[in-house]
Amino acid sequence: MPRRESCVRSFIFVSSLSAAGGVLALSARAAAQSASPSLPPPAVAAEELEFEGTAEVEAPPRDVTRRSVDNQVVQNMPGTRGDALRAIEIMPGVARTSIGQGDPILRGAAAGESQVFLDGIPVPFMFHFGGATSFMSSRLVEKLDVYPSNFSARYGRAVGGVIDITARDPRSDGFHAVLDVSLIDSSAFVEAPVTRDLSVAAAVRRSNIDFVFDKLVPDDTYSVVAAPTYFDYQALVSYRLDSATRLRLLGYGSRDALSLLFSDANDEDPGLAGSIRGRIEFHRVGLELRHQGTRGVSGFANVTAGRLGLLQHLGESEQRFDATELYGRTEASFDLHRAVRLTAGADFFGWLLAGKYHGPQPGGLEGDPTDGDPLAAQRSISVEDESVVVAQPAVYLDLQLRPLEPLLISPGVRVDYYGELADSSVDPRLAIRYELATTTALKGGAGYYSQPPQSWQSMPGVGNPDLKHFRALQISAGVEQKLGGGGKLTAEGFYKRVEDLVIGTENREAPQFVNTGQGRIYGGELSGEAHFGSNGFAYLAYTLSRSERRRPGSDWRLFDQDQTHVLSLAGSQGLGRGWTVGVRFRLVSGNPTTPIAGATYDVRTGVYLPIYGATNSRRDPLFNQLDARVEKQWRIGPGKVAAYVDVQNVYAAKNPEGYRYSFDYSKREAVSGLSLFPNLGLRGEL
């Protein structure tokens, strides 16, 4: 066979690894708000000596576990290319995901069961192209909080965990700019004060891969109409109304696009012929008013509106969606007594969606190996709806009681209404924290967490309009030990039980989806961090866990991305004279796989249909990877110039990310993930 055909097969195989790129992965889930109860001052460079008038006070925790990484750490983290959001990979409870697999896996929950927020507003995806680069400039990130489970009633519509990104205010000490050019992408960032109370910042990034893409692929594989490109931007205006009140306007957006024209039909799936075109983009603007009162009253209100668009075209399958989005949240906290704090809030998530779909009946849920069946052999459906309304309001209450000085008890309750389902949920939650000593704390919590199905799963003609929300019981407990110099050790155990999970029916027969799945997840985590002066750090994280799912009448089986052992080690150290070096090492159990026992020839379409063995009954080999980063920085006048190389997979470990099969599934070979990849870059800062 000519070389070309195999290239196409590899291409399709790898693309099939991606799990959450489509709008259908953009679940109609929650608007929830993460917001520090205190009003942070405008961000100020570490070396700045100017004093501001507002103090930042860390509020008592309402969540059992919140893990954060500061910006200095993430920008020097090897293997992340300075991408702040990729730094969550060093945290315990976060499974390894490959490029294309979508958002992170938190404590054994599927990516679509966790939620990512920017300033409390849910975002459609965290990374471009399902994992390449985050959608937001690291320069604008103030902090990144990860709640792997047992989060407070502030967050909802998710049975997994929460990742909350907080954008920082622009610096007030003059004009600053950063220009960063690397093989992967190029970005620019500027910030400046306009008046004493008004400051602005803006960032923009564009991928560089399309400049070389058509040089890298064989000419006879396909014609490149438009190579894959991504683009994102953020613009922030912050205005201080008085010492306790701030108004922020944040606009941001992202666009991923790809267009290819196959010269031939694919061997295994003749349905893969013609063109692949796709685009997903969102554009938003949000206004936030935040007040930090001096008499025990604080609060904020946020309204964000935008547009979301998606086009996917694969052979004769086509999908178009356009949605108008509206998110809102208001929250107020009252210190009722020195030992009692009450927080009350409400949030709203709304979509007005118009879309068209022609293609195979969607399935593709977790644990369904037939999702990879050839397109040609599946029956197509056509659906067109110009007015799908998704409206999901919620209210919540949190109490923080401190009956004894070292004891904090945080009960809460959240009530959600899912308008399109005429369904509602009430989720009580409880978190307890006891300070054994100033450096040692015990903590634990339990609560219920509900999530509606993704909006398309209940859409008439595509899914089951009778679907309801599904629900998880989450329990966790642990201990935190602070060390000197900002170091910390933690140990935690967790258990989750999920009921009424949405699963696909056998052979995708009507009603296509039902609320009859179950899940159970349990495990333990150890983590440690140490900081060495202002320019060195070390992180250790280890997670031992098991995540399982089952259908009615079936035995428990492994979750698609169950990873028994996840070990991460990372460190970075400044060496003086502008040199910084760092390494990261990961050792992770391979993902479960479903064996293929044979194949049936489909005479109607001319393709072989794999005959699957027990779902997820085997496991890929152990994943291991070492990343390294070296940076040299020069001070030139008022600015800095840095050259860096961020090398992923230093010793080119061949880690299987899946398998490719012969046309009749009689032979297979492992497909390795990304090999050694040095990303060279140059950065200038003013």
Partner: protein, 297 residues
């Protein structure tokens, strides 16, 4: 909606990092017994692929092998199919037609059936079974005796109903050309290919094979929405017993007007008879197949 459609940078990175290695197995090269397609003919109206309830029809499979006269067994059965959206057919009632052959000796696997008169015409008929190289099928029609599991097969047929007629596409003898010359079908008698009148080519030489389809090969389809295709899409497949052909599959999308399709074939370096199988299908159960041969010497 399809997971495979997700847009990822892996599209790019994957191609570069995985490389474009040689395939595990060539789909277009016939080096063992394989099923390549099939055709359904309504009795008395062979141009029609969709029988109506109460009508008789014949299902014939195209089997190809490196040998001229391969030995194989097969078992086929027909039943009413369960409604489905996924890829796999399933019976909802016991078979109403079946055949069990231990040694077919070059005869094409064939099943004659009569669709029960009380079947819902909007439903489908599932033909399923197994083809066994050098062996006999087991009674469950799912596997073969011996070490070779054989090739399980399925074919889901639409039934004729008002407003939707499914005709077989046709591969007309005059529409198939080898190096722009009409390429007649000749019966291959022996591997040495002497005295057959086959086209003769030199070892290692390159040639073009073209097939011209007719507009009438694509039936009009009901079109409830503008997203639905207005007519059938077709697939033309090429298989060879030796040599190197540029691609196995040609897709003729419903909105394409390119009805002449061409592939290149490079003759093997060793002399001998080379056979080529062409299969044309409409993805709804309609099909046509034919065999050609060329002598390399």
């Amino acid at each position: 909606m399809k997971r495979a459609l997700s847009l990822t940078l892996v599209y790019a990175i994957g191609l570069v990092s995985l490389g474009c290695d040689d395939p595990l197995e060539s789909v277009e090269l016939i080096d063992e017994l394989r099923v390549l397609g099939g055709r359904v003919e309504v009795t008395g109206d062979p141009g029609r692929a969709a029988p109506a309830p109460g009508e008789r029809a014949t299902v014939r499979l195209l089997v190809a092998a490196a040998e001229l006269e391969p030995a194989f067994g097969f078992a086929l059965a027909a039943c009413s199919a369960a409604p489905r959206n996924g890829a796999r057919g399933r019976c909802v009632s016991p078979p109403f037609a079946e055949i069990f052959v231990e040694n077919a000796e070059a005869a094409a696997p064939e099943l004659e059936l009569e669709v029960p008169a009380d079947v819902d015409p909007s439903g489908r008929v599932l033909v399923w079974g197994v083809v066994c190289p050098n062996g006999s099928p087991r009674p469950d029609r799912a596997r073969c005796d011996g070490s070779d599991p054989g090739t399980p097969v399925q074919l889901e047929l639409e039934l004729a109903h008002a407003g939707d007629v499914n005709l077989n596409p046709e591969l007309q003898a005059s529409s198939i050309a080898f190096d722009d010359e009409q390429w007649p079908e000749l019966t291959a008698i022996e591997r040495a290919c002497t005295g057959l009148g086959s086209i003769a080519v030199a070892p290692g030489s390159s040639h073009t094979i073209s097939v011209t389809l007719d507009e009438s090969d694509r039936d009009a389809l009901p079109r409830p929405t503008e997203l639905d295709p207005a007519r059938e899409s077709l697939q033309l497949s090429h298989f060879v017993s030796a040599g190197d052909i540029t691609r196995a599959f040609e897709s003729i999308a419903w909105d394409s007007d390119e009805l002449t399709r061409q592939v290149s074939w490079t003759a093997p370096s060793t002399p001998g008879l080379v056979r080529m199988w062409l299969m044309l299908r409409d993805f709804r159960g309609g099909g046509a197949f034919t065999t050609r041969s060329v002598c390399v010497r």
